[in-house]
């Protein structure tokens, strides 16, 4: 991989992350109430001294931006709120939660990361494997029975909000058939005899949310993969391979599939941003204690620092995931490395 491709991707990702921080700063300034009140709302019994310390720490006595326009003319100053905000963000200081008193946003986020990573990591994995297989097969056997049914099901799944799917599964498999528990990650108030029992309970709770996430994603991946395969199968080198007398299965596995996978990789990465919206609602339906339920709890309580923290964490993760996908793409496809 050439250095310039790497540098370009890297600088583009860094620029996007910088823009995310800028947007976060603007949101922070646009919030109702004076900024020091916003910062200190989570702290009990604020004294005037604390208030002044907060103003000093966040540079609230300084101009907002490095360049300000005053009567004396244009003033350029390194002491400004924007730089301090950026500095604090880079240092991992995201302020204090309004609701969880005295807890930093970083602590609140840390408690909620793993449930989300487990649920969506596994969900993505299942959906990618199933979706790509279904898409490849239906695209290959275009017009056949599996294609018609698979395409229809994919389109309907694609049109269904994740949380609706979750509510339906909850109704049928938890309330109706009582196969699975209805909410949470572990049964409340239970002491487990050993780690195995704990794991079994966890998996029982994971089953329905995981199925929801996978089903929600499988439709779009199948659609993308199918159209990619269809496009590839009409390319000249496939015709050449047919002309050489290769079997259809060999053409699919060795010629069409590797090339059709490429655009799918980048589309999956681009779609991650949208997937996050579904992620949030699925967690809410099943009361899964991840970042999604945290975002909605923070939203309900107007806990802006936590909400901004979730935004920062999720956006930066998506940007980094895209960067990784770009780099993998560059490794797989020599044409984009120029």
């Amino acid at each position: 991989m050439s250095g310039s491709y790497l540098a370009r991707r890297l600088s583009s990702a860094l620029f996007t992350i910088a823009l995310i921080v800028v947007v976060n700063f603007i949101l922070f300034r646009a919030m109702p109430g004076s900024p020091e009140r916003v910062i200190l709302r989570g702290t009990p019994n604020v004294t005037p001294a604390q208030l002044e310390a907060a103003r000093e720490r966040w540079g609230l006595n300084d101009p907002i931006f490095p360049i300000s326009f005053e009567e004396a003319g244009v003033v350029v100053s390194a002491d400004n709120q924007f730089f301090k905000f950026v500095g604090a963000t880079v240092a991992g200081d995201l302020g204090y939660s309004f609701v969880a008193r005295g807890q930093t946003v970083g602590d609140v986020l840390a408690q909620r990361i793993w449930p989300t990573v487990i649920l969506f990591g596994l969900g993505e994995l299942v959906a990618i494997v199933l979706g790509l297989a279904l898409g490849a097969y239906t695209g290959w056997r275009r017009g056949g029975g599996v294609d018609l049914v698979g395409n229809g099901v994919s389109l309907v799944l694609y049109s269904t909000p994740y949380f609706l799917l979750g509510m339906a599964l909850l109704l049928v498999f938890a309330t109706g058939l009582r196969w699975f528990p209805t909410f949470g990650m572990l049964t409340a108030g239970v002491t487990y005899p050993d780690l195995g029992a704990r794991l079994v309970d966890f998996l029982a709770h994971l089953a329905l949310p995981l199925t929801t996430v996978s089903l929600g994603l499988v439709g779009q991946y199948a659609i993308v993969m199918r159209s990619s395969i269809v496009e590839t199968l009409s390319d000249d080198y496939v015709t050449t391979a047919r002309g050489m007398g290769l079997s259809e299965g060999r053409i699919l596995r060795h010629h069409a599939l590797p090339n059709a996978l490429l655009p799918t990789v980048s589309l999956i990465a681009i779609n991650l941003g949208y997937v996050v919206a579904g992620a949030i609602t699925v967690e809410v339906v099943f009361n899964w204690p991840g970042l999604g339920t945290l975002a909605v709890e923070a939203l309900t309580a107007r806990d802006y620092p936590v909400l901004q923290g979730v935004f920062l964490l999720l956006s930066v993760s998506v940007v980094l995931a895209n960067l990784v996908a770009d780099l993998i793409y560059g490794l797989l496809d020599p044409r984009v490395r120029t």
Partner: protein, 314 residues
Amino acid sequence: MTAADAAFGAPAPRGLAGSPIGLLVRLVRRPEGAFGALILAVFAVLAIAPELFVGPLQTAVTAPGTRLSPPSPEFPFGTDELRRDMLNLTVHGARVSMAIGLLATLVTVFIGAVVGIVAGFLGGRVDAILMRITDFFLVIPTFVLALILTPIIRDLVGSGSAQVLGIRMTLIVIVIVIGITSWSSTARIIRSQTLSLKERAFVDRARVIGAGGGHIMRRHILPNVINLIVANAVLVFAGAVLTETTLSFVGLGDPFQPSWGQLLEAARTVGAPGLGAWWYFVPPGVGIVLVVFAFTLVGGALDDLLNPKRRGRR
């Protein structure tokens, strides 16, 4: 193209696929296009005149039924926890969901088209900056941004009973937020079309006779991308309905003008899946799936008809 056209530059062609009516006819000739259009027509009628079918929107005061009763001959869709008829709520929900979807689509497509045409036509530094911003909105999880923006903008505009076009301010804020956060893919599509259009002879001709950039963009570029804008708007509509539903579902809807998403939020809050009250969320849920499905079908069919690369390929 005749010899005279070749000599003097072809006149600015009409849209990519002729008149809008001709396009509609070609759309409904395709089975998936016809099916989608039929579903949309039904919901459009419901949305335009819900009172005609189910009377005025029921409130907790005017609710006729009993609490959370399953479907019966009297209430074919059952009732909610406030004793309201679910049929009444679902039909009125169609109006709210479709109206917000439509307005949000207009805002989204407007921003996307302006950014796309300006970036593509002007090129250079303006293009570079606009596309950087577009890429930013393409990649970040815009829904999370919408979650933060909605309450902040609501606090800024104040929450009263003020209405715009008969829609409450809370929902207008949702329209604006969807517009701000979802224009990026439209801008990309329109920009690439503009890039190829501006190299055509009729743009050079207009420039030679002294037309300014603004005039060329409005009179020569816009008419040629309008069909593309319409096709994209159909897909944007599907996305807007989904986004509105999701925002309402996490508690940003308006209980006084319940959309389908708001009904689903109410169903979740009451614990309808746990109580086995399937009739609470199945009707609005089916409404959403059908509308988004229909828009996706129509959007895909339009894309096939208008996208030169895909035209003729089945």
